[in-house]
Subunit: 264 residues, 2 copies
DNA sequence: CAACGTCATTCGGTCTTCTGAACGGTTAAT
DNA sequence: ATTAACCGTTCAGAAGACCGAATGACGTTG
């Protein structure tokens, strides 16, 4: 008894338990397709059913989660809609990026993304879909490990090797056979990206997709980057360089817009 | 002492306090522009600063809220992005509506919305912007009182008068000089909308904007509707009828898609 | 320069939530 | 029909969050 209490007292309770659990529920329902039962969620979160039950009732009363007609499966509720779009509206980069992304998507004809580095992950802030039938899957708000994406490598290449070693989670997670997991190989790619000004991903997070990305100059909050993705069949090396020029130009023009905004 | 405890015991604690507060924080930061200090939020929510402090620390650690460099103003964090888009992805209506809205926006050249009834409010699920320079402001996730929007009236017109009287909050809130707040006038408009198949809003939530809406046949979850909005200068009565035909057609084709999905 | 206003933050006693086991309901398989 | 395996839900003891006042750190104003 004593030892457990002492251990718990040792580290300050920096977290409010039920607050953290509310957030975990939202992350879980957001990540998985949704449609989870209370017992499934309790299992996934390693939380007693009875505790989660009270929390879900609170969330349901406020319409942050919905309950199936059957009363047994939870999904995100209508109130959850508000937060995502509100984040984007309040963000300078995301709200200025719209026209720039439109133009880049128009020029290249391929899928275009704006991403932000968050810890070891890249988060998609905005996208424009390719007009081709064959295109990559992605969604605003979704995360991928930074080391396996062009966006992530473009942003990581702004830091020096020591900093990169500290920021990433070693060993690196493997998503496809082509994911770069060797530290030296990754640092080599980052150095190369720094020199030439753009980064590339060659089937490292989804097979058959190649992607080219350029970081925005503004080091604001860890960094943002713009990318352009296409199936390998439409992105050979020559085409990649061509696309890289267009992406660089887009990143530069967005960077200029942001600087102008910063000076009022 | 006893009386307070007894009163508290009388009603079951249906809500987990800190869970509810987390949600309130998200709603507050989502609704206001954001950038609120701890003291401001504590004031707005009628919660002690010290209690809110612990909750905000939890939310910040998990990146659901961000703290200014100055360390004194909170805004929504990156994790908040996930929920909104995930809700839309998991929703059959919203995910099927894309092409239908595209076509309607193309055909009319005006702003087009998909909305859902939630209590007394309409929530925007998706939008397509007008190609005209002069256009209405709106955002996915935002709410407006149902009685002051074409979308809301289209959905309310599916219920009978008694049900409508129960569902709305009386007296009706006034948003503009033209907002209909008289019960009989509103019920009259709903009856008219039911007969002709579409509802109209004439500057009732934003001055100078007219809007035409049609409910989807599927009574699924309170109801959804599609609308088309334009400044009065581009939407006289004749044009409104023309637009109503196009919106009706779009609503019908989306309804058909949904029925097909329902039958597998 | 000092006094003030505002801000986030800490601290211990009290009250709430959390918890694990038991309950009643529904569906599926035997 | 009976069993079994889920589901959500309840309850009283135990653990932890909540609260108000006091503190420290700013930046601003007189």
């Amino acid at each position: 008894m004593e030892s457990v209490a002492a251990a718990a007292r040792g580290r300050r309770p920096e977290e409010v338990k039920s607050a953290a659990r509310v957030l975990e529920v939202l992350e879980l329902l957001g990540a998985e397709g949704a449609r989870l039962s209370l017992a499934e969620m309790a299992g996934a979160m390693a939380v007693p059913k009875s505790s989660l039950h009270a929390i879900l009732r609170t969330m349901e009363a406020r319409r942050w989660v919905d309950l199936d007609p059957s009363g047994t499966r939870y999904s995100l509720g209508l109130k959850a809609l508000l937060t995502g779009t509100a984040y984007l509206e309040g963000d300078d980069v995301a709200s200025l990026a719209g026209p720039v992304l439109d133009a880049l998507a128009e020029e290249t004809g391929e899928s275009v993304h704006l991403g932000r580095l968050d810890g070891t992950d890249v988060v998609y802030l905005a996208k424009r879909e390719s007009r081709h039938a064959l295109r990559m899957y992605s969604a605003v708000g979704r995360r991928l490990p930074a080391h396996a994406t062009a966006l992530g490598k473009a942003m990581l290449s702004q830091y020096d090797a020591a900093e990169v070693r500290m920021r990433l989670n070693w060993p690196l997670e493997r998503l496809t056979p082509d994911t770069v997991t060797d530290p030296e190989a990754l640092l080599g790619q980052l150095a190369e990206a720094r020199l030439r000004g753009w980064a590339m991903d060659d089937g490292e997070n989804s097979p058959d997709i190649r992607c080219v990305a350029v970081a925005l100059g503004t080091g604001q909050g860890g960094g943002d980057a713009i990318s352009c993705s296409a199936p390998k069949s439409r992105m050979d090396d020559a085409r990649a360089e061509e696309v890289a020029r267009a992406v660089t130009e887009a990143a530069h023009s967005l960077g200029t817009l942001l600087k102008r905004l910063g000076q009022h």
